[in-house]
């Protein structure tokens, strides 16, 4: 900011009103976002069932969280969620990096064919029922692969990864080629180390979508012991399918479950914000 500008501003006496109002607006907006989450947090620590408008727990208890830790029907879904998120993110990243790397080989015979094949899937899809029948014919129903595999081949993320890879200077590849590096060698020694930010960004996108997955579990899983946390949370909230425990109210348990469902990302999110933002910008600005 130049000195001139400050001088210009200082001439106008009322310039402070707008920033003040603006700041106030954003404090209100932030509160609108924060208060519902805060309220759920308070309720999860409150032993009563009728909460009212208070913004702090009245009868403090950790019973809701204890119930989640103690009960198989509540912690197993959590474990399933963690497992699918980790395995899914790994498989997804593997496919996306392999595919993205091959798609930047412009002279590879069939490269355009592969690219068009991917793009066509973004234009037309078979629909929910044919996909369901395919999963069934493959015998994947009621296995965790049914929720991991279809989501791990994400064309959008693949194209995103390709865009990231394209940003790697051509000269690096050429140099490596001259040094006698094999395609695999280039991939592991040059491409992956240079794409850490991209891997973080796309890996986070994958893990958010696996952690938050509800639809695939609803469609392909009908066994109680394979449900993930989102499914369990939905049935707790909408159908009051909550283990009966006289020490805390069912509402407390479901509030605690809601907090547990958001916790992993709320904790890591402030540290990873730039990767998320980067992903969106690369996706929309470059193609």
């Amino acid at each position: 900011m130049s000195d001139d500008k400050i001088v210009v501003r200082k001439k106008k006496k009322k310039f402070k009103i707008f920033p003040l109002v603006n700041g106030l607006i954003f404090i209100i907006i932030s509160l609108i976002v924060i208060i519902p989450i805060w309220k759920v947090l308070c309720d999860s620590l409150d032993a009563r069932s009728a909460y009212g408008l208070n913004l702090h727990p009245v009868e403090f208890t950790l019973g809701g969280y204890q119930a989640i830790i103690n009960r198989t029907s509540l912690y197993m879904p959590f474990v399933i969620s963690v497992v699918t998120t980790i395995v899914g993110t790994f498989v997804g990243l593997l496919l996306v990096t392999l595919g993205g790397y091959v798609l930047i080989q412009w002279e590879m015979p069939g490269r355009n064919f592969f690219a068009y094949m991917l793009l066509f899937t973004m234009i037309f899809d078979g629909g929910m029922i044919p996909k369901y029948l395919v999963i069934k014919q493959l015998g994947l129903m009621n296995t965790l692969w049914a929720v991991i595999l279809p989501m791990s081949i994400n064309v959008y993320n693949l194209v995103l990864m390709r865009n990231f890879f394209e940003g790697i200077p051509e000269s690096l590849f050429e140099a490596a080629q001259i040094d006698g590096c094999s395609p695999m060698g280039i991939f592991f020694k040059i491409v992956l180390p240079l794409s850490k930010a991209a891997l973080a960004s796309i890996g986070l996108m994958f893990s958010v979508s696996f952690w938050n997955d509800y639809t695939n579990f609803k469609l392909y899983i009908s066994k109680n012991n394979l449900y993930n946390f989102q499914i369990r949370l939905r049935s707790m909230v909408a159908d009051s399918d909550i283990p009966n425990d006289s020490s805390v109210s069912p509402e407390t348990i479901s509030s605690a479950a809601t907090i547990v469902a958001v916790l992993p990302f709320v904790v890591i999110y402030p540290f990873c914000q730039k990767y998320f933002v980067q992903g969106v910008n690369v996706g929309a600005v470059k193609e």
């Binding site: 001139d4 500008k5 920033p19 603006n22 700041g23 607006i25 954003f26 932030s30 609108i32 976002v33 519902p36 309220k39 759920v40 909460y51 408008l53 496919l95 392999l98 091959v102 080989q105 002279e107 015979p109 069939g110 592969f114 094949m117 793009l119 899937t121 234009i123 037309f124 899809d125 078979g126 629909g127 929910m128 029922i129 044919p130 996909k131 029948l133 395919v134 081949i153 064309v155 051509e170 395609p183 695999m184 958010v208 938050n212 639809t215 989102q230 949370l233 909230v237 509402e251 479950a257 809601t258 469902a261 958001v262 990302f265 999110y269 914000q273 998320f276 910008n281 929309a284 193609e287």
Partner: protein
């Protein structure tokens, strides 16, 4: 051989001069897309009824009459043969061997004609013990002349479309429409390295590692994206429990003429996603404009972090948070507040009342996605040169004028881009509705995808064929939207979205 423009000696298989980038060899001409469209029409026609009963389509009745196509021929090998000819034809066109493609299209037609006159077709007349279908067999000539059961028969749309497809496939070979759209591709020099001039075999060998690397991706794409596309053929069948059988276009006729639930869902899909899109984009633009005015950087970062947060919560979490806020008793947060303020007397069930559900849905969407929606706008705003503002300020332009004359024009392109990107996804509206709706609000909340889900998984006797045809309709409309938005995107910002 020598390059025409620079006289360099060229390698054996060269297509492009390594020195000046000029194309060598004789121009191959463009792809004859019209012919390919013709083949595709023929392929679709092979699933449409060649012969169709005259029975009127009545709401609620399972048709007594029949339709006949390759899908219920007693010798399905003929269909495979037909498809083989079509595929060969398309490959010939792609390989620029147009004469052979004509031969293929004629071959396909001959296969079709033989099937039409020479073979018998299944008629499903009931079920048998053991869970199969009771079938009878007839020839097309027989049903056309004598009818079957109480029904008379006529030539169906499949036959006409087949003939149209054939004509298009043959005539299309002689028209190079792409010529008129052709632009200079402006190949980047980096794509013109020496390896282009190697023979195909050498290239394949050189890239063998890459093919291996692509194999897992290819397999997954084929299984989870292309295999389901084949399942679209069930849209032409009645598929209850385990035995699909061909019913022609019956499902589409019922769906488009009689199914009020389908039309309701279609309408809701459009209303919900378009209003949501307008509200979300509008709110995101306003907020990013205001956010851009904040000069205190730590405050700005904090606000950004907070408003981005809800985007990463699942719809299930959003639903449970809102359900808690909106709980239907006098001690609920919102209801308690409204009752306390004397605005309402009885608590309102926001999530199960047809009058309030849509509003609640939009609010939930705003809460979840407005903050995240500002990311792109903020990126654009940060790209506007500060010099512009300074110059305007010196000229005496106030905050409002700067907004109108500098910020908004710069933002317009991004707004349109975001709008187009999201418009293409209008038909995909699913999880947000699926998680938050209850059967009580179906009349305002049911969208095409949830309709398909509810109808398929509501009972043991659901017809997969029917819901597949609803899904196919959805995919078809979605495809038109994507292509339309892609076109619009090219016009607006010079590149497509797919």
């Amino acid at each position: 051989m020598q390059c025409k423009s620079c006289n360099t000696e060229l390698p054996k298989n060269a297509k492009i001069c390594p020195k000046c980038g000029e194309k060598v060899g004789k121009p191959a001409g463009n792809l004859k897309v019209i012919s390919i469209i013709g083949f595709v029409i023929m392929l679709i026609a092979s699933m449409l009824p060649f012969v169709q009963s005259n029975e009127a389509v009545l709401d609620g009745y399972v048709p007594k009459g029949f339709a006949f196509s390759f899908m219920n021929i007693t010798v399905p090998v003929m269909w495979y043969l037909f498809i083989l000819f079509i595929v060969a034809g398309i490959l010939c066109v792609v390989a620029k061997k147009e004469i052979f493609s004509i031969i293929c299209s004629v071959g396909a037609t001959i296969v079709w004609a033989i099937s039409f006159f020479g073979f018998t077709y299944d008629i499903v007349v009931g079920k048998i013990t053991g869970g199969g279908l009771k079938k009878e067999y007839t020839t097309l000539m027989n049903v056309l002349n004598n009818g079957y059961g109480d029904n008379t028969y006529h030539i169906g749309c499949g036959t006409y479309i087949m003939i149209i497809g054939l004509i298009v496939a043959i005539v299309g070979v002689f028209f190079d429409v792409l010529k008129y759209f052709k632009k200079d591709l402006g190949v980047d020099a980096k794509y013109l390295s020496n390896s282009l001039n190697q023979s195909l075999g050498l290239k394949l060998y050189y890239y063998r590692g890459f093919y291996l690397m692509y194999l897992p991706v290819l397999i997954m794409i084929l299984i989870f994206n292309y295999w389901p596309m084949l399942g679209c053929r069930y849209a032409f069948t009645r598929y209850v429990i385990g035995n699909p059988y061909y019913v022609g276009l019956y499902h589409f006729q019922i769906m488009l003429t009689n199914d009020t639930f389908f039309w309701r869902s279609f309408r809701n899909t459009l209303i919900l996603s378009i209003i949501k899109l307008i509200l979300n984009t509008g709110a995101a633009v306003i907020i990013s404009l205001l956010l851009n005015e904040i000069v205190n950087m730590p405050f700005k970062k904090t606000v950004q972090t907070i408003v981005y947060l809800p985007h990463f919560m699942s719809w299930v979490v959003i639903f449970s948070v809102f359900r808690m806020l909106l709980s239907v008793n006098s001690s609920g947060v919102i209801n308690g507040f409204l009752i306390g303020a004397g605005l309402i007397k009885d608590p309102i069930n926001f999530l199960a009342d047809v009058h309030y559900w849509r509003g609640t849905f939009y609010v939930m969407n705003l809460w979840k996605d407005t903050g995240w929606g500002t990311v792109l706008f903020l990126a654009t705003l940060s790209g506007i040169s500060p010099d512009l503002y300074e110059a305007a300020q010196i000229d005496g332009a106030n905050r409002f004028k700067r907004l109108i004359y500098i910020t908004l024009p710069a933002l317009a392109n991004t707004i349109i881009t975001v709008f187009i990107l999201n418009l293409a996804k209008v038909m995909n509206l699913f999880e947000s509705v699926f998680v938050t709706k209850s059967p009580a609000v179906d009349s305002v909340a049911s969208v095409l995808q949830t309709y398909v889900y509810d109808k398929t998984f509501a009972g043991g006797n659901s017809d997969y064929g029917y819901t597949t045809s609803v899904g196919l309709f959805k995919s078809f409309v979605g495809m038109i939207l994507v292509l339309g938005c892609n076109y619009a995107s090219k016009k607006v910002r010079g590149r497509g979205i797919v």
